[in-house]
């Protein structure tokens, strides 16, 4: 009898936790855009490739949605995952707009943030924000690299803080 009672309480508890998650939905992020660069020429024989390339200021757009309200704070961190990368290449991100929506947003606009293999703080805010524009930069391009395709995946993680 006691075993049945205990089991009932346990099932109730698990059910409560699931319901709590449903009633308190997690914030989420929409990300649109990507970038590629084709490098195939130099101005004159004997020249190196242009070293640095910048994307459009709105190359990538991020929405942060599903927050609990204007005071629900969050932050975004960023890192890269090498697919087929070259050690001489460096990749950067910069926020170029505040986006729209209630709440606030700060950081990430003053300078480019260089992305490496561990999470770097990018910017933070509160409440729902739509259309936050992100600009990307690549440096280190040189003819010393063999021709071919070099790829990385840029991962943006949203934390509810």
């Amino acid at each position: 009898m006691k075993i049945i009672a205990k089991s009932t309480i346990l099932v109730f508890l698990l059910g409560f936790m699931l319901l709590a998650n449903e009633a308190w939905p997690a914030m989420y992020m929409n990300l649109t855009g990507s970038w590629s660069e084709i490098v195939n020429s130099v101005p004159y024989a004997g020249n190196d490739f242009q070293n640095t390339y910048e994307s459009a200021t709105d190359q990538v757009t991020i929405d942060v949605l599903g927050t609990a309200g204007v005071s629900d704070q969050w932050q975004i961190v960023v890192k890269k995952s090498n697919v087929d990368w070259h050690n001489d290449l460096h990749f950067f991100v910069k926020r170029t707009s505040d986006g729209a929506g209630a709440g606030s947003i700060s950081d990430g606009m003053a300078d480019y943030v260089e992305i490496n293999d561990i999470n770097q703080y990018f910017f933070s805010g509160s409440g729902n924000r739509r259309d936050i524009n992100i600009q990307l930069k690549l440096s280190g391009v040189s003819v010393r690299m063999p021709f071919g395709r070099y790829s990385i995946r840029i991962l943006y993680s949203l934390f509810d803080i």
Partner: protein, 186 residues
């Protein structure tokens, strides 16, 4: 009673873990890919103020003819991007109107400008009326650039010798020297 207490402790822990999960966890991750595509490049430029090489009369009658000093005013400048593990070479090929009795020499020397695998210069090559086939002057060129200033790249020194004065004719001959940056065959 003691078992009930244990059960409440377990219930409290579950509840606390659930709240922690709700309050401060990573909630979402999204990503995009960046692709950099670097294409093969093979560009060669000749920077030259090459005047002429000549055979002139000696100071005194009866002496051998004189040849002009060597000319070192030619520079090859190149940009090369190759696949990993592959190389290129530069060949020199004179035109077919080569004058009889004359030997033309060329010595390549890489300057310090540029970066990357700029190749290795070959020893002096020569051409005469019977040896006009293209010859390699720089090989093992990988992905590199030489810079493009007036004295950057590979310096070429040209000079001539009289091989057989009996075959020389008084004339002005313009020889076209063709340089080709080409892939090595594997």
């Amino acid at each position: 009673m003691r078992k009930m207490k244990s059960l409440f402790v377990v219930m409290f822990m579950f509840l606390a873990l659930g709240l922690i999960n709700i309050a401060g966890a990573q909630t979402d991750t999204d990503s995009h890919v960046f692709d950099l595509i670097i294409s093969p490049v093979a560009l060669l430029h000749v920077e030259s103020s090459f005047a002429s090489l000549s055979v002139t009369a000696p100071e005194y009658a009866g002496e051998d003819v004189e040849v002009s000093p060597a000319d070192s005013n030619t520079y090859l400048q190149y940009t090369s991007v190759v696949a990993a593990g592959t190389t290129r070479r530069i060949t020199l090929n004179p035109s077919n109107n080569f004058p009889a009795g004359i030997i033309l020499y060329c010595t390549p020397l890489l300057t310090e400008t540029g970066e990357g695998d700029r190749g290795d210069t070959r020893p002096t090559v020569y051409f005469d009326i019977d040896h006009r086939a293209a010859k390699v002057i720089i090989d093992d060129i990988g992905s590199c650039f030489t810079e493009d200033g007036s004295t950057d790249g590979a310096n070429l020194t040209y000079w001539i010798e009289v091989d057989d004065i009996g075959n020389i004719n008084a004339a002005t001959t313009s020889i076209t020297l063709t340089y080709t940056l080409t892939d090595d065959l594997y």
